[in-house]
């Protein structure tokens, strides 16, 4: 099951050229661009690992694309996203975020049902890949 998150989640994978164009846009807006990765892509997991430091004061996307590439090489079977942070007062938040790498095989999520208080049911989802496996071993290394 192909996991989708963030901006452009309705589109097919972006090519490197397209990623570069998005980064260029973020830089033009004065946003700081970050590269993050995780092997726990649960939609509620907002805190992914940072790949290096947030990149403030950059003018050109080439350096960031290199970081994306380095991160892909180090974590080929992780989810990697590029996010752009707007530090403008009042915003101070991520303005753009999209996935740039994903594991080859994505088993997806199962629906869990928990019976509570008589006939009530609570639903939640659980990742086939994540559950029961430690970090780094979840998507085949």
């Amino acid at each position: 099951m192909r996991i989708t998150q963030g901006t452009f989640s309705f589109l097919p994978e972006l090519s490197d050229e397209q990623i570069k164009a998005q980064i260029e846009y973020a830089l033009e807006q004065g946003w700081a661009v970050n590269v993050e990765y995780t092997d726990d892509p649960h939609p509620r997991n907002t805190y992914w690992e940072m790949w290096g430091l947030p990149m403030f004061d950059l003018r050109d996307p080439v350096g960031i694309l290199e970081e994306v590439q380095d991160c892909r090489e180090a974590h080929p079977n992780h989810y990697i996203r590029v996010s752009a942070f707007d530090s403008t007062r009042g915003w101070e938040t991520v303005r753009l975020s999209f996935i740039v790498n994903r594991p080859e095989h994505e088993p997806g999520f199962r629906l869990m049902r928990q019976e509570v208080d008589g006939r009530k049911i609570r639903y939640t989802i659980e990742s086939y890949a994540v559950t029961g496996k430690p970090e780094g071993e979840r998507y085949g290394g």
Partner: protein
């Protein structure tokens, strides 16, 4: 340079002979046969479209003297422009390496020229952004093992699309300490200089003799730098002209006697230790303005006019310690000369 002679670059008036079309050199490598050799090319038009003249004019206006530097910059602009026109008619144009070294004494305009260079290279589309990132050893070299490469890479990322200006580059190399992390920074920079010419231009700057020693010890760096520009010291006459420009910029001027005093000041100041060319001029003018302000203040508002606020008088110059020391014959080795 061919193009410059024929196409009247730089400050000279345009178009000596606009009818003369540049011939195609028959010995040149032939492109795939699509564009005929007699295709007319319009170098002047390309030059106009690039708006480089504006920056070159600014360079001429704002920087006094420095003739050899200005010539080199114009030559570089001509090369890039011809390359662009060549590409336009299907001729190969190898991306030239434009990493440079700027050598010269303090205050001779290295940083200022680097800024202009970034602007020119941007207008000629050699670099994508045209900003200048100035760093010294501290911003490149780390404190412990494994710290340097990421630190240098951070800086390189910031400079991508623009010009990386490394001031006093020789501090990167500490021959007395073979485990110094500076060499790791050099290594990282070298790689980018070699492999990412389209992404970044590196300019190394510093005093001439120390730079030469640095290059002797780092042949890899030396061989990757195609352009060595040496910034001459300014003459007293040029310094006076620079002073004029600086005053004009701030809406001040010398009275005729003050100008004469400043000329005398310069002659003395040049001989003193720690003389740093145009920067010393700027500092001297700052102090003259300070004295002028105090003089006006002490005069207590007596019939002052707008003109008084703009005029530097000889006493604002002659109060300098340079004159007093010269009179008393003191040999000065101190750091700050007032």
């Amino acid at each position: 340079m061919e193009a410059e002679r024929r196409y009247s670059f730089g400050g000279r008036s345009g178009g000596d002979d606009p009818t003369e079309a540049p011939e195609q050199d028959a010995t040149e490598e032939q492109p795939e046969r699509v564009v005929p050799d007699d295709t007319p090319v319009d170098i002047e038009g390309a030059f106009r479209d690039s708006n480089v003249q504006e920056v070159l004019d600014k360079l001429d206006r704002e920087l006094v003297g420095l003739a050899p530097i200005k010539t080199r910059i114009k030559e570089t602009a001509a090369l890039l422009l011809v390359d662009r026109v060549r590409t336009g008619v299907g001729l190969p144009a190898a991306v030239p390496s434009l990493h440079m070294s700027f050598t010269g004494n303090p205050g001779t305009g290295k940083t200022t020229v680097a800024l202009r260079m970034a602007e020119i290279l941007h207008r000629l589309e050699y670099i994508r952004k045209g900003h200048l990132v100035t760093v010294t050893r501290d911003q490149l070299v780390g404190q412990y093992i494994g710290h340097t490469a990421p630190k240098t890479k951070e800086v390189l990322k910031k400079a991508m699309g623009g010009v990386l200006f490394i001031d006093e580059a020789y501090y990167l190399h500490r021959p007395e300490n073979e485990r110094d992390y500076g060499s790791e920074a050099i290594e990282t920079i070298l790689q980018v200089m070699e492999n990412q010419r389209d992404d970044i231009v590196v300019i190394l700057a510093g005093y001439k003799d120390r730079m030469e020693r640095f290059f002797e010890n780092n042949p890899g760096m030396h061989s990757r730098i195609a352009h060595h520009l040496d910034f001459p010291d300014h003459t007293a006459g040029e310094l006076l002209q620079i002073a004029g420009l600086m005053l004009e910029e701030q809406q001040y001027r010398f009275s005729p006697e003050a100008e004469a005093a400043f000329r005398e000041y310069l002659d003395l100041r040049i001989e003193r230790p720690n003389f740093s060319n145009a920067r010393s001029v700027r500092n001297a003018l700052d102090r003259a303005r300070l004295r002028q302000a105090n003089r006006l203040f002490d005069a207590g508002g007596r019939g002052l006019t707008r003109k008084d606020l703009m005029t530097i008088e000889p006493e604002d110059i002659r109060a300098s310690r340079v004159f007093q020391d010269a009179a008393s014959g003191t040999e000065e080795t101190g750091t700050d000369i007032r």
